[in-house]
């Protein structure tokens, strides 16, 4: 299966969910869906053979939106394993909430918890919305957000 074929296949599978499919050669496919439809999209991707998630990334665009990206790929089908699918969705900035994909991909258990911990994104239905990496007593802005500033060196070398 080559890049174009897979892209066309994903487009036909997820077309009715309003997914925007784009891609970067040679092996990355981007899928953009609304957060209401992300569970359904994930289920369809899983039935296509994308059986695990490599990473969950949350990106902060201040005052605008959060973007959550699931980098999924396959272990069981080694032909699909060459491709990485980025399933992305946008969340409003003042209320970053989305349904968890734990039911579809159990491999997101710690990844989603980390994004809650460091980025402050609430995954509804996830059983462990608690601190993972930071100390339990931590309070304040989640540290990976852009408004959380760390000290920097003053000299511009």
């Amino acid at each position: 299966m080559n890049f174009e074929e897979l892209k066309a296949k994903i487009e036909s599978e997820l077309g009715d969910l309003g997914a925007e499919v784009s891609g970067r050669e040679p092996n990355v496919i981007d899928i953009k869906v609304d957060k209401e439809k992300i569970v359904e999209a994930a289920k369809r991707l899983k039935s296509m053979g994308f059986d695990h998630v490599k990473a969950v990334t949350a990106v902060d665009f201040p005052k605008e939106r959060f973007e959550v990206i699931y980098h999924a790929s396959s272990y069981s089908d080694l032909e699909l394993a060459y491709f990485i699918v980025n399933l992305r969705t946008s969340l409003p900035y003042d209320d970053p909430k989305m349904p968890t994909l734990l039911e579809v991909w159990p491999s997101v258990l710690y990844q989603e918890q980390e994004e809650y911990d460091l980025m402050g994104i609430l995954f509804e239905g996830h059983p462990r919305m608690e601190r993972l990496l930071l100390p339990e007593t931590y309070e304040g802005i989640p540290p990976l957000r852009k408004e959380f500033k760390v000290k920097t060196e003053g000299i511009n070398v």
């Binding site: 930071l134 100390p135 540290p143 959380f148 760390v150 000290k151 920097t152």
Partner: protein, 174 residues
């Protein structure tokens, strides 16, 4: 209880005097030298890996560098050890644990901080989740390097031994 009360009453401050005599004797030159020599060659670090320098610490206890020849034997429980080795960065979560471990160790006890992170945070100096070991623990020897080589670990042990044998480190007060 009553007996003890009676004993105290009859014999005056015998216990206190005995302690004083022992302290005088232990701090007197020949015995003191033997004591410091003994402590210097039985530095037992507690098995408490705080960060990635643990990889080099493990290598320094392994055959090629073999720090055990300095009487340096990594040991399991904090109550049987007298040396706390801060191996690299101390995060806030780990800092609490380090204080617990240090408090459990019997006197006399020493702290060595390993790596640039142990001195001033190293490459993670502006991280939001670290503490500097010298802020929370009395560190005797710092080892620079990121990570320090096992030879540097061996040198730190020898430096600590010298300090102990000079009589700077151990003070007995009863």
């Amino acid at each position: 209880m009553v007996c003890m009360m009676e004993g105290t009453m009859l014999l005056g401050n015998l216990e206190k005097s005995a302690r004083k005599a022992a302290a005088w004797l232990v701090n007197k030159t020949p015995i003191r030298n033997i004591r410091d020599w003994g402590i210097a060659f039985s530095l037992w670090p507690v098995h408490f890996t705080t960060a990635c320098c643990g990889a080099e610490f493990a290598a320094s206890a392994a055959p090629r560098f073999d720090t055990e020849r300095f009487g340096f034997l990594p040991f399991i429980a904090s109550r049987q050890c007298n040396l706390l080795f801060i191996e690299g960065t101390l995060t806030k979560k780990m800092g609490e644990a380090a204080i617990w471990v240090y408090e459990q160790m019997p006197e006399p006890k020493f702290v060595i901080a390993m790596g640039a992170c142990g001195i001033d945070g190293g490459i993670f100096w502006n991280s939001y989740n670290i503490v500097r070991p010298m802020d929370i623990l009395p560190v005797s020897v710092f080892i620079p390097g990121c990570p320090p080589r096992p030879e540097a670990v061996a040198q730190a042990i020898i430096m600590l031994q010298r300090k102990i044998r000079k009589g700077e480190m151990v003070k007995y007060e009863f």
